[in-house]
Symmetry: C2
Subunit: 344 residues, 2 copies
DNA sequence: TTGTAGGCGTTATCAT
DNA sequence: ATGATAACGCCTACAA
């Protein structure tokens, strides 16, 4: 059996609480240096490590925060989780990661499960605010801190929690204008949706953006697929084959992974990238730089986003009463090798 | 504040222990159907969820098992984690994933941290047995189950714990013979090593394997790099440029991600894949099928491996006394598009 | 059928 | 400067 505090105390010849005080370097104990040393030695010798269960029970907190990501297989999210954990650890917190498998139903399960663990706070990627509102209320009632990572700052009321907001529009507009400058006039938008997730107003947003720049509505198409590579590939390849000569010359895929699948689909449909089809992804995953053609992409500043999330979390945990905050970040177009002038 | 058992009991007008008995569906309570219903209703109404902290403390177990993977960014490991978690959940266990960032030092920290959490068992990828032996002893003493995922079944004594063993040699031999059949005579082996990890006997193993097949030792080179894509790229590109015309015509990279980085390095060094350089990876990550050239690779049966690991874990948890077991799996060469006849 | 008491490992309060 | 005691939420005997 593992050594408990009691064992350490016994070995050092002091009472458990004394040992506790010393081990935690609490100031109110003016124990003699010599006693302290005895306790430290005993702890080390026994390989003592405090029980998180007991700690959690006693303190009402595990010094642990939860993160729910939609997809464990997407480097974008794992990169975020990684940064997030590092920063958290610097402040003495542990991280537990759950992944909702791109399934909104299951995401609820993840959130609940995190709440069960007497976790101090939850950070998650807000995919569907309406479906999460109940969870958010529960979390609030339980006194848990919540930080939401939110996308398109929709017309909705502001997210009633701390949030890190990524504004796609900047990068997206730059992407579109980059393509327009290259002479493109026919666009496709490929959007991987989570199970149970609706396209929402995305198609309209794209239409609008293009119309403002003189591209008629008929010149762009919105394609929905799932997050599975196989599905992305199939859907886009079929689309290309059916579209024939009236196919778009430029594709914006809403994440890099789908962009990769789409590129191969295009190649298998007889197109070259970027000569016949320009492709822009979103996320700027590291892998993008090592493909046959480096993937032009819209970058999100995950490092800064993770840091902000942690800062907000810590602030909230130390002071429940402050107002909710929102940090905004801009996305940014990174031009690499998958876009080219449209062929005439 | 969150509802406790006491609150539920009070609301239902019964004693806490009665509520406990009912909620846990223990048979010895012959509470009236009506009382039971009152308790269930009260629990639901209050949103009662038992405290994992208290449960863990009382029961000495969190019904949670830990998994330490070397790299959260490698789809191979996340795929394993995913399968592993599904199977575990089917049996009522939760999973906590830590990643050691390809750092053996840090891996120890992860393992310790998992032990701290009153976790029931640990599964991890054994990278360096000697450095883990102390941890293993501790875990055993603490009564934790351990399942190791082990690679090359080295000459060492058998792993003194339950283990899932993947035998690379089958796939590796097939890969080499595949390349020999294509006329290759000069080989490179690219091996990403974790921080603090030694190449060990890998170079000798490769040499041996080739010598047995009539390839002199001078015809193959062992290249070590880290797990960072940037490093893989740099190291391999420099190697190619320095090697010049005496460069190998075939590369076996010890994981798919490195293979991808190496391919781009080769392209940037003016080589075409597979015409000028054949490349074989290891892992068969899904992404490999969507590259410009589908990546020929050595597959590991992660689905079956995850299932075995779970089976062993459960068996061990229900009966400490059985002998240690080892499940063996073979790797398998999957020929796709990155190998070709050597140019003459 | 229900209530009472003890303990899991820890920290906090109060007394010595 | 140190030690005894209670409490965190839950489960499990055992007593009523």
């Amino acid at each position: 059996m593992r050594a408990r505090l009691k064992d350490v105390a016994a070995k050092a010849g002091v009472a458990p609480n004394t040992a506790s005080t010393i081990l935690n370097r609490r100031p109110n104990s003016w124990a003699s240096k010599e006693t302290e040393q005895r306790v430290f030695d005993a702890a080390k010798e026994l390989g003592y490590r405090p029980s998180r269960a007991a700690l959690g029970l006693r303190m009402g907190s595990f010094k642990t925060i939860g993160l729910v990501i939609p997809d464990l297989h997407n480097p974008y999210y794992t990169a975020f989780a990684d940064r997030f954990e590092r920063k958290l650890r610097d402040h003495g917190y542990d991280l537990i990661v759950e992944h909702s498998r791109n399934n909104i139903e299951f995401e609820m399960h993840c959130l609940e499960s995190i709440l069960d663990r007497q976790i101090d706070a939850v950070t998650y990627f807000v995919s569907d605010f309406d479906r999460h509102i109940d969870f958010l209320k529960t979390a609030k009632k339980a006194g848990k801190a919540v930080v939401g990572m939110t996308g398109l700052s929709a017309a909705e009321d502001p997210f009633p929690f701390d949030s890190v907001e990524i504004d796609f529009s900047v990068g997206l507009i730059d992407a579109v204008e980059h393509l327009l400058a290259l002479g493109h006039e026919n666009f496709a938008f490929l959007c991987a949706l989570a199970a149970g997730q609706e396209a929402g107003d995305r198609p309209q947003v794209f239409n609008e953006m293009l119309k403002e720049r003189g591209i008629p509505e008929g010149n762009n198409v919105f394609i929905a697929c799932t997050h599975k590579m196989a599905n992305v590939y199939e859907v886009f390849k079929r689309f290309l084959l059916e579209a024939g000569d009236s196919r778009p010359t430029a594709l914006i895929a809403m994440n890099d992974l789908s962009a990769i699948g789409a590129i191969r689909a295009a190649e298998d449909a007889g197109l070259r990238v970027p000569e016949d089809l320009s492709v822009i992804g979103v996320d700027n995953i590291p892998l993008g730089d090592y493909l046959h053609r480096k993937l032009t992409t819209i970058e999100q500043p995950i490092e800064a986003m993770a840091e902000s999330a942690v800062r907000m979390l810590l602030k909230r945990l130390s002071d429940q009463e402050i107002d909710f905050q929102t940090m905004r970040f801009d996305s940014k177009l990174i031009i690499k090798e998958t876009t080219a002038k449209v062929r005439t």
